[in-house]
Amino acid sequence: MSTEFVRKWGIGFTIALGVFLFVVYPMIGDEFTVIILTQCVIWGILASSLNLMLGYTGLASLGHAAYFGSGAYAAAIMSVHYQSTFLEALAVSLLVSVIVTAVFALVALRATGVYFLMITFALAMLVWGLAYRWDSMTGGENGIAGITRPDFLTNTLTFHYFALLIGVGVFLFFISLVRSSFGKTLVGIRESESRMQTLGYNVWLHKYIIYLISGFFSGLAGFLWVFYNSYVAPTDVELLTSFNALLMVSLGGPGTLIGPVLGSAIFVFLDNTVNMYTERSLTVIGIVYITVVLFAPKGVVGLIRQLIEAKMKKTEGLGEEEGKNISEA
C-alpha cells in the first residue's frame, strides 16, 4: 500500500461518509437529526473560515463571534424591522460583516501572537456591547425572535439542503483558495513571516485579505444561523461563541480542510446528545475536549494522519527487513 493509495481511499471514504450523512440520511432520518445536521453545516462554515486564519495563516482569532454575530444581527434586523426579502437580508448581512471585519482587521493586525488573540477578543466585545445595549434595534438581552424563513425554505429538509449547498460551495472555494499560490503564501507567512517579507511578499496585505475572506464567510454562517434558529441574542455574539469556533478548529485539526468540518460535527453531536443521557453533560464534554487536546494536539485529523503514517512506516520497515533477510539468504 502506497501513501498515495491510502490518501485516495481516505478521501473517497470521507466523501462517501459525508454524502451518506448529509445527503442520504436526512431523507430517511427523523427531523431532529436533520436539524442537528444543519447545525453541523453552519458551524462547519464558521469553523472553516476561522481555520483559514488560524490553521493556514497562523492568526489565532478569539473574535469570530463578532463577524458571525454582525452577519446574524444584520439579517435579523433587516427581516424583522424592515421586512426585507431573503436576498436583501443576505446582501446587507454580508456587507455588514465585511465592513465590521475590514475595520476590526485594521486594528487587530497591528498585533501578533497572544496580543492578537486579546485584541480580537476585545474588538468582538464591542459588537457584543452593541447587541446588548442598542435596545431599539437589537432588543437588548431579549434578542430578536420570530425571524421567519421565506416560503421555499420553511421545511426543515429544504433548509438543510439549502445550507448544505452553500456549505459545499464554500468548502470548494476554500479548497481552491488553499491550493492557489495565494494559499501557499499564507502557509509561508505562518511558517516564517520575516522570510516571506524578505522574499518581497506584502505580508500585511495577505493577512488583511484572508481576514476579510474569513470575516465574510463567518458573516454568511451568521446569516444562515439566524434563519436556522429564528432567534438571535447577545449570547450568539459573546466570548463563548468565538471560543467554541476556536475549539471546533483545534478539535478537528487546524491547517487541514476537513478538520474544522469534522470538529464542528463532533462539537454539535456532543452538545446535543450527551445531555440526553446524563445531567453532567458539561463535565463529560469537558473531559472529551481535554483528552483531545492532551493526546491529539493536532486535532482528530492530525491524530488519524499520525496513526496512518506510523502504520505505513511500520509496514515499509517490515518490507525492508524482509528484503534484507532474503538478500542475506
Partner: protein, 418 residues
C-alpha cells in the same frame, strides 16, 4: 479493490435501507401523553432549575403519571441558562420526542424565543417564565403563559401607595432583561399613576458580581428601593447593600424573587423586613399548599419557592385541561382552546388560577414580609392577599395594550434627576 468498493459504497446503501425500514413509527392505537419540559439545571439559573425538578417529582408523587385514563411520559430538556439554546431544545422535544404539550422556560426572554415555535409546530406551549407580551401584544394561538412578569408588581405598587403613603420617592433597581424591565415597569406605571415618584432607575446585567458602582450611586434623598433580583443576584446584592452601610437607610420593597425560598435559606439577616410581592409564598396556610410543601420538602430538603410552585401549578393546569378534553391531546386545536379556558383552584398551592381570555391567568398576588419564626427560620410571611389580579391590573385591556411594552426606556423616568 472490489472489496473496498463493496465496503465504501454498498454498505452505506444497505444501512440506509435498513434505517428506512426501521424508522417508520409503530402505529400504536394511542400511546402515552407526552409532556415536554424545559428547565435550566446549569449556569446562572441552576438553583431554580433544581427546584423545578423537585417540583416535578412532587407532582408525580401527588398526581401520578396517569391522566384521563392515559399514561403520561415526561421529557425534560435543559437549556443550560442560555436563551438561544432553548430553541434547539424545544425543536428536539417537538420533532424527536413528538410531545403533545410543552411547559417551562426560565428567563422572561426564553418565552419570547420559544413562543413563535409554538405556532410553527402547532404545539400547545404553556410558558412558565412570564414574558408580558406573549399574553398581550404578541399573542400566539398555541402559546400561553402561567402569569405575566408585571402582574404581581402592578398590584404591589397599588398596595404600597395605599398602605405606605409616607414613602414619597422610590429608586428602582433591576436586572437588564425582559423580566427586570417588566417587573420594574409594572411597578413604576401603577405607582406613578397613583401619584408616587420614581426618582432613579438602574438596570444591571444579570451576571453582575460587584454591585458597588450601582450602590454608590443610589440617591440619598429617596425613601425606598424597589428591587428586582434574579438568579445569583439575589444572593449577592443584599449582602453588598448591607456592607455599604445602607441596609437600614431605605425601606426595601421588591419582587418576590429577591427572597424566594430558592435562595432564602442561604440569605443572612440582612433581608429581614424586606417587603416583596409574588404569586406564591411557602408560608400559605391552605390545605393544597401544606400538602405541596410537605412532599416537596421530602425531595428537596428545603421549602419550595415560586419556581417550584409554578412548575407544579402549571403541570396541574395541563392535567386538568387534558381531563376536560377526555385525553384527546392529539387534537391540538381542542387542546389549546381548553388550556386557554382553564379555571383551576383545586390542588393549586398558590391559589386559584383563572384564564383571562388573553393567554394568561388571573392570579392571587401575595404581599410578603421576611420574618423569622420561633425556630429562627426565615419565612415569607403573607401580610396581604390581593385576589384575582389581572395582568392588566385595573386598566382596560385595549387601552393598556396601546401603550408601548415595558422596556428599559418605558415608562420613561419623568422624575429622574429632579
Amino acid at each position: 479493490m472490489n472489496r473496498l468498493i463493496v465496503r465504501f459504497l454498498v454498505l452505506p446503501i444497505v444501512i440506509s435501507f435498513v434505517a428506512l425500514l426501521t424508522s417508520g413509527e409503530a402505529i400504536a392505537a394511542k400511546g402515552p401523553i407526552k409532556i415536554g419540559l424545559l428547565t435550566s439545571t446549569k449556569g446562572v439559573l441552576a438553583k431554580h432549575g433544581s427546584d423545578q425538578m423537585n417540583a416535578l417529582k412532587t407532582f408525580k408523587d401527588i398526581h401520578g403519571e396517569k391522566v384521563a385514563g392515559r399514561s403520561v411520559k415526561f421529557f425534560v430538556e435543559d437549556n443550560e441558562s442560555k436563551v438561544a439554546l432553548s430553541v434547539t431544545r424545544v425543536r428536539k422535544l417537538v420533532t424527536r420526542d413528538k410531545v403533545h404539550v410543552i411547559m417551562g422556560g426560565l428567563f422572561g426572554s426564553t418565552g419570547y424565543a420559544i413562543a413563535p415555535l409554538a405556532d410553527q409546530y402547532k404545539t400547545p406551549t404553556l410558558i412558565w417564565s412570564c414574558p408580558d407580551d406573549i399574553s398581550k401584544r404578541k399573542r400566539k394561538r398555541y402559546a400561553l403563559t402561567y402569569f405575566s412578569c408585571s402582574q404581581p408588581t402592578q398590584a404591589f405598587a397599588h398596595w404600597v401607595r395605599t398602605t405606605m403613603p409616607e414613602i414619597k420617592k422610590v429608586i428602582t433597581i433591576g436586572p437588564d432583561y425582559a423580566f427586570g424591565h417588566e417587573s420594574t415597569g409594572g411597578f413604576q406605571q401603577v405607582y406613578e399613576d397613583m401619584g408616587g415618584k420614581v426618582v432613579q432607575k438602574m438596570y444591571m446585567p444579570i451576571n453582575t458580581v460587584d454591585y458597588g458602582p450601582y450602590i454608590s450611586k443610589l440617591r440619598k434623598d429617596a425613601d425606598a428601593l424597589f428591587v428586582t433580583l434574579a438568579g445569583a443576584q439575589a444572593l449577592r446584592f443584599p449582602k453588598q447593600l448591607k456592607e455599604a452601610g445602607l441596609g437600614n437607610k431605605y425601606v426595601i420593597l421588591g419582587n418576590g424573587t429577591n427572597t424566594d425560598e430558592f435562595v432564602l435559606h442561604a440569605l443572612g439577616d440582612e433581608v429581614l423586613g424586606w417587603i416583596t410581592a409574588l404569586i406564591y409564598s411557602a408560608n400559605l396556610q391552605t390545605e393544597a399548599n401544606q400538602k405541596f410543601v410537605k412532599v416537596f420538602t421530602k425531595h428537596a430538603k428545603k421549602d419550595p419557592g415560586y419556581y417550584a410552585e409554578g412548575y407544579f401549578g402549571a403541570l396541574n393546569i395541563i392535567y386538568k385541561a387534558i381531563e376536560s378534553i377526555n385525553g384527546d391531546v392529539e387534537d391540538r386545536d381542542k387542546f389549546i382552546t381548553a388550556l386557554k379556558k382553564m379555571k383551576v383552584s383545586k390542588g393549586m398551592p398558590g391559589g386559584a388560577k383563572k384564564s383571562d381570555g388573553y393567554g394568561t391567568f388571573n392570579t392571587n398576588v401575595y404581599v410578603r414580609i421576611v420574618t423569622k419564626d420561633e425556630t429562627g427560620k426565615k419565612r415569607n410571611k403573607v401580610i396581604k392577599t390581593i385576589p384575582n389580579v389581572s395582568q392588566f391590573w385595573t386598566y382596560p385591556p385595549e387601552e393598556y395594550m396601546k401603550r408601548p411594552p415595558y422596556s428599559r426606556n418605558y415608562p420613561p423616568c419623568k422624575n429622574c434627576g429632579k
